[in-house]
Symmetry: C2
Amino acid sequence: MTEYSGKNLKSFTADELIVLCERLREKIKSTVVKNGGHLSSNLGVIELTVALHYVFDFPTDKLIFDVGHQCYAHKLLSGREDGFETLRRRGGLSGFPKREESAFDCYNTGHAGTSVSAALGFAKARDIKGENFNVIAVIGDGSFNNGLVYEAFNSLRPLNTNVLVILNDNGMSISPTVGSMHEYLEQLSQNAQHIAKVEKHSNIFERFGFSYDGVHDGNDLFSMIAKLSEIKEKLKTQSVILHVLTKKGKGYSFCEENPQITHGISGGEKKQAVSYSEAFGKTLVEIAWKDKAITAVTAAMTPSLGLTEFFERYPERSIDVGICEEHATILCAALAAQGLKPYYAVYSTFLQRSFDEIILDICSQNLPVTLCIDRAGISGEDGETHQGVFDLSFLNLIPNLTVAVPKDIEEFKRMLVASASFNAPLAIRYPKDCARIFGGTQGGELSNWQYISRGNCNVAVLACGERALSLADDVNGEIAEQGLNVTIVNARIVKPLDEKFLQGLAETVIITLEDNQLLGGFGSCVCTHFADNSDVRVKCFAYCDKFIPHGTAEELMKEYGLDGKKLKEYILNNAVR
Amino acid sequence: MTEYSGKNLKSFTADELIVLCERLREKIKSTVVKNGGHLSSNLGVIELTVALHYVFDFPTDKLIFDVGHQCYAHKLLSGREDGFETLRRRGGLSGFPKREESAFDCYNTGHAGTSVSAALGFAKARDIKGENFNVIAVIGDGSFNNGLVYEAFNSLRPLNTNVLVILNDNGMSISPTVGSMHEYLEQLSQNAQHIAKVEKHSNIFERFGFSYDGVHDGNDLFSMIAKLSEIKEKLKTQSVILHVLTKKGKGYSFCEENPQITHGISGGEKKQAVSYSEAFGKTLVEIAWKDKAITAVTAAMTPSLGLTEFFERYPERSIDVGICEEHATILCAALAAQGLKPYYAVYSTFLQRSFDEIILDICSQNLPVTLCIDRAGISGEDGETHQGVFDLSFLNLIPNLTVAVPKDIEEFKRMLVASASFNAPLAIRYPKDCARIFGGTQGGELSNWQYISRGNCNVAVLACGERALSLADDVNGEIAEQGLNVTIVNARIVKPLDEKFLQGLAETVIITLEDNQLLGGFGSCVCTHFADNSDVRVKCFAYCDKFIPHGTAEELMKEYGLDGKKLKEYILNNAVR
């Protein structure tokens, strides 16, 4: 425990508290610039977090950060200043709340809108067990768009329990917040500036059983302390929404002026190659020029997905619904049912939210929606909640869907061009960064596999996506020193399997490589295909059945199942010329 | 087309319209009593549906029914009276809206809360394409609890389009509607009775950009016609919510008095064996008597899941959150994090809604929540949107989760008892009906497989769940006439596989049987396990990669992949004594 954690903090003088805020701000700034991470969102809540720690008693009281983009000050205040320089590094502190890291993190988050539900669960359990503590959810206005928040609000009265929800309103998620709820929040803020108290009857939150208290300056440390002390008393008898305005990037002028590009930043001095996201946006702009049915849909991630130019060029065909992944998916299905050609771009991990809607709304109706799945495979430093390692498995099981995985960024662009005339549900998954371009002929991008190279032994490697193909190619280079080569196949369509290609393979030892979980993924489908055939053996390289924490993609791939050394070993042990 | 469909209807006299309503009511009643289906919900909306067809021009105008529990009158009014007696039967009319059945069904539904999103999609596509028609969503107050509706409302302004949302308020989903939104709707209704106009500032819907019009009697045909005609004009310039009160079961006194048990009914004269749902509820009541941490959570399905007694006996540990599957899942995770032992009971098909929350909130935090998955496998007459054939596949891929499938109802009860001390995420999946009890010793229900019988050849059948085991046992009986027996294994834990058991198997031809999709399911895991072993062949019997329509479970199992005849054939062709 550092000197300013927990109980010590409560004896701090006003001056000491101010110094502490500056210290936290400096520490976060210097660490994030080096390690990467969520900068602006964390800088905005320093005063609020210090006030919370000053007034409440953690970990007895429970503090739940929605998404977790704003938990750094909390980590520093709860005995994690030592070691904070390991933030987001393999084996170091996570950038998100983690129960396994500290008792002060009572609930893990990473996706939007879960905090109010979780807070209600803690409070209800407290009541059932006859315990006594406070439960607080801190949630941004971006997450407030998510339907989960409404579901939780709706059950406040039936659950008959008390929680504090702090609405941290900075007008942004990653993109600026959209939607009527956001407009309503703005209206509340404007009202508060003009009249002493928001008109009682106009408040949505009170309809749900909350006492509403707002709007206050969340960056004013002492008024936050006073306000939270007052609310702490209220919580004994009621649930409260505290609506505070904070400045994203507070105290760092570059961040304050550029909150969108500094929401999350990369650490160090990585060179920026063209990313798949950029290629996606650029290609979509090109094909949409001719094809007026092409429409782009996103859930609050326009710039990160490469869609900024599309939104500028074709505003009438650009839809950002806020952090509402389910709604976005259904909207796409209906747009397609009425003859448009929607592209829903989304990070792999957030696509999980739309699982039911992909099945029923898109695929069971066989509608031509294209899912453009960014950050697929291991995504690295954000850890468990952001790895995109499940998508091939959960998409594989859905009838009517075609699932494509480009071998490189050039093939990705050709797939997008081909997708415009693909008249059925389609998913294309790709990682963030592009590193290599491979050979192979053009054509058939959405219909069949292709040979990348032919080997001189009984082993064929079916590689799925750029990272897998890179690994195969590297290992093939290494074994070439021994005069050995394996056949390498660009298995770019995971569903349906290219069965004709599989039947034509002369090799009898088949190795599958994929940047995805083993269970239910590409390899498992190949195993199932050959299960009843005793002439062929299949060996799968994919991620093991574990949640994959934070670290660099390279470290994690090797550690969790995509290890070049083991691949080489397996080939050498099984190759027969 | 029948004489009262489409354009003809508009020339009907008032008397003829009244006669028509009675005729529809009789037709629905007589058909549903015979075929089973949704009775009360359909009887409640006859006048509303006739009024809609009288005022609007379908299929040019688009009508979307939320869930679809209330589309029968619409089917009868759109050329499907002939053939209506095939409702819910294999090859006959679906009980839900189906695009492939009629142009009058523009969007398929089955799960709650999708209609407003879909309506916005149709309206937005219309605007983008410069077309001209009206879009109408009809949604019940039960679905109104779902977060999707809020997400759709929130994007009404950004989408800048016009739709009509008819809130069909009957105070019920399957269970009575719960939550603050429901209380708010009741308040609106009461206000309307007392004052001429609902106080302007108190209306939530107007905050989202709707013009609100309510409350009206949805069973009053002529006032509905007048009101809809008026709104049709309004829709040219704005979006409207029309709030109507309807009587669930209207016109059939038994239904009016018993809306909960007549929401959906079974047809014919099926005998009622004890169902898995009943066994679930009874066992949970028993174990909760000793274990005060056991808490039951449901999303508006208390009676159908067998939880009525539990809710009566332990109200303080009983939670119904309304149709909010995602929220229910997070609530369970948080209850478990605070030391309770929550059981989330849900139909397999609705569990799909919580996919992301099962992964992140429950499993990545390794919290001891038990998912009790009812109506797993083919569920029959409700068709595509209600088959529970994906759960083994989408649960298989989630780390930290144990997935159990009881071989019969007695083992199911023992699994539930064992689950009370199981300190990790657990899923137990089971069908509705119990038909058979099998041998096998007691113990190890949540840890290992067991032999049901030993064969005299090289074939072992790994059967997963009651239906699969019945099939295996039946076929084993048939081949016994030829002096042949296969080994039958109760593969009751699908994840993790009982690898020790698999390694100990002497047989070299392994057959897997499961009431689930092939891809990613139990069989595919067994294939992956043996893929690198050329001494063993695996053959999977599971459902093929298609959406499975309505029909009886028996018909569908056979047709889509669990066919005893083919199983027998495979065994006879591959058995070596």
